[in-house]
């Protein structure tokens, strides 16, 4: 169904350059985010989750650029090729924030320490809505209240450093939410927070999805978060999506050895002391000196000679795809 897709990423390649060396941080990634659904992107540190998000937002650091691929935003006025827009241009600026909002891994990078939280929310509202001064102030208080910030009338005038970590993250979500974006990109929004505060934030994101039909792309490394929040999941490893599909399929019938190893390596609450957890041996390769073929080969116990070539992206079924030469054997091994 084309119409409910909010964003399509096709064949995206984003590379970093450093001392004449190249890090193919994102090396051919395709996925879509659907309206009213949550896509979770999981994977180890350095696999390219944040760079994927930065590519979509056109917020890539210098020394990196999109080499290939398409990023298409399906807005109310038809499709827009984001990758073709000027990153500082008016159209990109209006998309950023109003149509696609982002919550960052570290709230302090996104909040400006010299302006009050209220000022920062109101600034967003001023850029992207037609609200008047008084209305903007009231809306800012409303937003903070809806994020569970106590005493919003007073807190609205306070500076970020007076907020606790959890409150900052919620304030940032308030800013992100202020213009009812159609897409919310959340980069590990709760990694630094306590589980009880995390639960508050997930509750908020769920409400957004249900009530506003917001499409959510949630970056995490926690399979628990995936199980609880995702509709779809994409598993990344060293710049590729190695497996993707509906959460039920990927978690119940994973076919990529990395997905399986990942699921086997975490203790799962409720399974007690008898569960066997299996560590994945070795570590990820040097990003500036990647293997030519399957990126997981060094750590994969199913490796064969053919794995020295890059496996193609293959559909296991209509909505389930994988990048592994031997997936068919795994699909039928009854695990």
């Amino acid at each position: 169904m084309e119409h409910d897709v909010a964003l399509t990423v096709k064949g995206l390649k984003t590379y970093f350059y450093n001392n004449n060396r190249c890090n193919r941080a994102i090396d051919g990634v395709s996925f879509e985010i659907r309206q009213g659904k949550t896509l979770c992107i999981v994977g180890e540190s350095g696999c390219g989750k944040s760079v994927t998000a930065a590519s979509i937002m056109q917020l890539l650091p210098t020394l990196s650029r999109i080499e290939e691929g398409e990023i298409t935003y399906h807005g109310p006025d038809g499709p827009v090729r984001i990758d073709a827009l000027d990153r500082g241009g008016a159209q990109m600026r209006s998309i950023r924030g109003k149509e696609i909002a982002m919550i960052f891994q570290d709230p302090m990078t996104a909040l400006n320490p010299v302006y009050s939280i209220g000022f920062q929310i109101k600034e967003m509202l001023m850029y992207h809505t037609g609200l008047g001064r008084r209305e903007r102030h009231d809306k800012a208080i409303d937003l903070l209240a809806s994020m569970g910030i106590p005493l919003p009338e007073r807190r609205v005038n306070e500076y970020p450093h007076l907020y606790s970590g959890g409150m900052r993250q919620r304030a940032m979500i308030a800013i992100a939410m202020s213009c009812n974006p159609r897409i919310l990109i959340a980069d590990e929004p709760t990694t630094a927070l306590d589980v009880t505060i995390q639960a508050q934030i997930f509750e908020l994101m769920d409400t957004l999805k249900r009530e506003n039909g917001t499409a959510i792309m949630l970056i995490t490394h926690d399979m628990g978060v995936v199980a609880e929040l995702a509709d779809d999941v994409a598993v990344m490893y060293m710049g590729n999506i190695v497996e993707a599909g509906p959460v039920g399929t990927v978690m119940r019938n994973p076919v990529h050895p990395y997905t399986r190893a990942l699921l086997d390596s975490i203790p799962v609450l409720g399974r007690g002391k008898d569960q066997e957890i299996k560590a994945i041996p070795g570590q990820t390769p040097d990003p500036y000196d990647r293997p030519k073929g399957c990126q997981f080969a060094d750590r994969c116990r199913h490796r064969i000679d053919k794995c020295d070539q890059m496996p193609p992206e293959t559909q296991v079924s209509d909505d389930h795809r994988v990048m592994c030469w031997r997936y068919e054997e795994f699909a039928s091994d009854g695990r």
């Binding site: 009880t196 628990g224 995936v226 609880e228 039920g248 390596s265 609450l269």
Partner: protein
């Protein structure tokens, strides 16, 4: 397991002074640890869980006398009888420091970047009387092998290793003088899941081999379920629940623990938990709420909870006891 305590804490308090103004006068106290009674049994893994700031690290350090308790006693029991550590001076503690070690949270900051691994690891050995360099090199080599690293690693510098490797080096250092007890303070929290499993397995193997006792500090209740024999749940400097790990998960008594457990995202699609979303933030240990410290966030709070501090009382649980501090739990064993 026979209840053979290696350490006994009685009414341990650690209050840090808060100084303000030009005169740096003490205007308040952070009640980081606020009256803890706890036994650590020889050979067990005792989990210490709770939200950020609840006093886990401070309690762990108080156990090792790395911060001194402002009240209460910590008693060590060994073959040579009982010794009250809290009254020992540094010279008196020297013999015990060897038996009690700590592995810190951050694998990046716990190794001195200017020293080779050997340089960092030989220090405690020299301190405790391993005279010749050749001997120290042999021991460090053996230690590195014990944590699944190559001997040659000793001549390299910390920046040449990944986070997981550095954490293993940190563990090697803690092991270097054959301790009896290791406090692991968030020893795996900063690691990627796949690496986390490697370190967890290593810790468990070492425990079996060397009959170690662990105090395992974490905020991850999936890890404690898998790893720990008993678990102490802390809230604002107090232990609010303490029992066997299995008992804690199957028969949760304290409302805070219930909320904490329900908030954990579970990586199991067949076990969607009923999230109990707590309102508000963790209160400040400078000015803790009156009565039960949890009452402002507790959905069962009654009048008595606002005025009276609930004591940690014992309840019957299978073959042992289950300790909890809440006014509303009926039928304590004895009062």
């Amino acid at each position: 397991m026979a209840a053979d305590p290696i350490l006994s804490l009685r009414n341990v308090e650690v209050h840090f002074p808060v100084r303000t103004g030009v005169l740096k006068r003490v205007t308040a106290h952070v009640r980081a640890v606020d009256g803890v009674d706890l036994d650590v049994y020889r050979g067990e893994v005792l989990g210490l869980v709770g939200e950020s700031g609840c006093g886990k690290t401070t309690l762990g350090k108080a156990i090792l006398q790395l911060v001194r308790a402002t009240q209460g006693t910590v008693t060590y029991s060994g073959e040579d009888g009982e010794t009250e550590l809290t009254t020992q001076d540094d010279a008196g503690l020297f013999a015990f420091r060897k038996r009690l070690q700590i592995v810190f949270q951050d694998p990046h900051s716990s190794l001195n970047p200017a020293f080779t691994i050997f340089g960092s690891l030989e220090d405690p050995l020299r301190h405790y009387g391993v005279k010749t360099r050749a001997e120290r090199r042999k021991i460090v080599g053996d230690l590195l092998e014990a944590v699944n690293m190559r001997r040659e690693a000793m001549d390299r510098y910390p920046h040449e290793f990944s986070g997981g490797q550095r954490q293993r080096i940190g563990i090697a250092r803690a092991l270097s003088i054959d301790p009896e007890l290791i406090v692991c303070d968030e020893a795996v929290s900063a690691l990627d899941v796949s690496i986390q499993a490697q370190v967890l397995q290593l810790l468990m193997d070492l425990k079996r081999e060397k009959n170690l006792t662990y105090v395992f500090i974490t905020h991850d209740l999936s890890v404690t379920e898998y790893l720990c024999d008993r678990i102490a749940v802390m809230y604002l400097g107090k232990v609010v629940e303490l029992c066997d790990a299995e008992e804690l998960y199957s028969n949760t008594l304290h409302p805070y623990t219930q909320a904490l457990l329900s908030a954990i995202p579970v990586a199991d699609l067949d076990r969607k938990s009923q999230r109990i979303v707590l309102q508000g933030d963790v209160p400040s240990p400078i000015n803790p709420p009156s009565g039960c410290p949890f009452h402002p966030r507790c959905r069962f709070a009654q009048d008595i909870c606002r005025t009276d501090v609930p004591r940690l009382r014992a309840y019957k649980a299978g073959s042992g006891v289950h300790m909890a501090a809440c006014h509303l739990i009926d039928q304590p064993l004895a009062d």
